[in-house]
């Protein structure tokens, strides 16, 4: 078997490195929940004792609930729209001969690379020149630009992974484009759709840079945290809130990645 080949024989130093790498990757983030249970206003060692009071305090804060509700609303709408646009864009990219296709894909993927601040200020300038007030809608528009490349990138492999003759077979068996989409295409790309929804929701939910420039009077959750960072006495409750956000984000993204990859490996094998 290939597992036992000379090239792939175990390499002890590399294994040690990998473990250290993962620890360094995760430990910084884990300090947030660690200190969120610390019974002290100061974020420092040694730990003073375990408490849940910072979480209890959060529960009673109305602005937190408002910010959460704002973030969820924006996140759901952005996730649904960017996934729908991602599905049709990925389908167009993989199915049709289009001149200038690679330029189009580069264009759609641009927000992945270009610093967010540039998109943020550019949108801010456009909206203010057009006299559009900053609201959750403008935050949503900003998030849509950020999320679209991720939706397309998540869905493209799905569409590339399935044999175009599947859709042709459906047409050949008498189904028109609409029914072919719902009976063949959609079920086959469904895991990608779920992954895209979860991923884009999380990105929007956690997004800060666009929100920083485009938020009006209703803050999203990251904006609320940014506002609280100025007050040292609020630090523990910010830690508690951040822990909750991190926990939810990790779960959602893990699910998204897991669901998004499951079927893909199968199609590659066969």
């Amino acid at each position: 078997m290939s597992d036992g080949t000379y090239i792939k024989r175990p390499n002890r130093p590399l294994q040690v490195y990998a473990v250290i790498f993962l620890i360094v990757l995760y430990v910084p983030v884990l300090f947030i929940p660690l200190f969120s249970f610390n019974d002290s206003i100061y974020v420092r060692f040694p730990l003073e004792g375990w408490t849940l009071k910072w979480y209890g305090e959060l529960w009673q804060r109305e602005p937190v609930w408002n910010a959460l509700w704002n973030s969820v609303r924006v996140g759901v709408v952005v996730a649904v729209i960017s996934t729908i646009l991602g599905v049709i864009a990925a389908r167009a990219i993989t199915r049709y001969r289009m001149p200038g296709k690679s330029a189009l894909v580069t264009f759609i993927m641009m927000p992945l690379v270009i610093p967010g601040i540039i998109f943020g200020v550019a949108l801010l300038v456009l909206l203010s020149r057009m006299g559009i007030p900053l609201t959750l809608y403008t935050v949503g528009l900003g998030h849509l630009i950020v999320c679209l490349p991720f939706a397309v990138a998540t869905l493209l492999p799905r569409f590339e992974g399935f044999d175009p003759s599947m859709e042709e077979a459906s047409a050949d068996l008498g189904e028109n484009g609409w029914w072919t989409f719902w009976r063949v295409t959609f079920p086959m790309v469904f895991p990608g759709v779920v992954a895209s929804l979860l991923l884009t929701f999380t990105i929007s939910f956690d997004e800060f840079i666009m929100a920083f420039f485009l938020t009006g009077t209703d803050p999203t959750l990251p904006m609320y945290i940014w506002g609280q960072l100025r007050f040292p006495q609020e630090f523990p409750s910010v830690l508690a809130l951040s822990s909750l956000i991190l926990f939810v984000s990790f779960i959602l993204v893990f699910l998204a990645q897991w669901i998004g990859r499951i079927g893909l490996d199968e199609t590659k094998k066969s």
């Binding site: 599947m166 459906s170 047409a171 050949d172 068996l173 063949v184 086959m188 066969s270």
Partner: protein
């Protein structure tokens, strides 16, 4: 309207992908109930032609008629044809029964009626009881049958098959060839079958269209394609062939012959010498049409040569015999009948070998 015997009429069809001319200009008719094959090397345009019949590619010029109706404005889902894809395209998210019943949605059938039809198809393809299997539990041969059932259940006027046996191993492929032929006779539907495997085309087909470089070279029965190819390309593509340069010599209207380089003069009846006196031709003879012997045979056309190479293939051997006037040795295929029967295997030390043949086996082709 076109010829009533023809179910499919292809009229001056051309297809270009950008600047690449995939189909030059093709016209042909395919009859009702025929098992018709499109045979050619990869890139010859056979799959493109098949996909134009299915409606997945539009024609750049020309028109395709199926059962008298022009097809160019008819999308694939409204055409009376169904297809078995090269990859089979079995829907992985559906089980066998739902795959086969896929096209029945618009027929307004009850679930029981649909299941009954599926079960009939499963019997037909000899996979009874497979209805609830998942698509990814199937072997290649089973997928191929499911794809066939899924298309046939809709009772199309034409079944299109795109190299459906290409992915199967040799033994299974030969078995499926026999089953496919039997199935086609049983259901009586016109099959249009694409393949690059000449043996497969010869085994299965009523008629074969040999294609190359976007053109149809010859449309004929397997036997005529093999015995009477119309061009060097067809002769060389189907089976092996020896070619000799020659010149037609007509002796008034009484008799005629072909002067050849290597095989001497071959007398032929006038009705086979369709060319004028002095016309350059190519004389083609298949390897198995030669008989080898150590002495000159009585009363047959024969030349002497020397064995230059031999290859043992089990049931038969191939010999390469050098003769005067011919740059390349002549290929001869001779059955290995066993000790005491037929010719004992010759060796290069044997001295002269005689090649003999019958004038009936000679094919005359245009010179290059």
């Amino acid at each position: 309207m076109t010829d009533t015997d023809a179910l499919i009429s292809i009229r001056k069809v051309k297809k270009a992908f950008g600047s690449f001319q995939a189909i030059e200009e093709v016209s042909m008719d395919i009859g009702r109930g025929e098992f018709f094959s499109l045979l050619g090397p990869s890139g010859c345009g056979k799959t493109t032609l098949l996909r134009m019949l299915a409606g997945f590619e539009n024609t750049t010029e020309g028109e395709i008629f199926i059962d008298g109706h022009a097809m160019s404005d008819v999308p694939p889902h409204h055409r009376p044809v169904n297809m078995v894809f090269q990859s089979y395209a079995i829907f992985p998210h559906l089980n066998v029964r739902d795959n086969i019943a896929y096209g029945l949605r618009k027929r307004n059938l009850s679930r029981a009626e649909r299941y009954e039809m599926v079960d009939e198809m499963l019997d037909l393809i000899k996979l009874p009881g497979y209805g609830t299997r998942r698509a990814n539990e199937l072997s290649g041969g089973q997928r191929q049958r499911i794809a066939l059932a899924r298309a046939l259940i809709l009772r199309p006027k034409v079944l299109l098959l795109d190299e459906p046996l290409g992915a199967l191993d040799k033994q299974l492929r030969e078995q499926m060839q026999l089953e496919l032929r039997a199935l086609q006779r049983q259901v009586g539907i016109t099959f249009v079958f694409v393949t690059h495997d000449q043996e497969e085309a010869l085994t299965l087909s009523d008629r074969i269209a040999v294609m190359s470089g976007g053109r149809v070279l010859q449309v004929d029965t397997p036997e005529r394609l093999y015995e009477r190819p119309v061009s060097r390309a067809v002769a060389a593509f189907i089976g092996n062939m020896n070619f000799f340069r020659g010149t037609v010599r007509r002796n008034g209207s009484a008799s005629g012959l072909v002067e050849t380089e290597g095989l001497g003069n071959i007398p032929l009846p006038l009705d086979r010498l369709t060319r004028p006196d002095g016309a350059p031709v190519q004389v083609a003879l298949r390897p198995e049409k030669f008989t080898l012997s150590r002495t000159r045979p009585e009363g047959a056309l024969a030349v002497a040569g020397r064995l230059s190479n031999a290859a043992y293939l089990g049931e038969r051997s191939h010999y390469y015999v050098s003769i005067d006037g011919c740059a390349t040795p002549v290929a001869v295929s001779s059955p290995n009948l066993g000790v005491g029967r037929g010719l004992a295997p010759p060796t290069p030390e044997d001295g002269p070998l005689w090649l003999s043949w019958s004038p009936d086996a000679v094919v005359l082709l245009d010179a290059d």
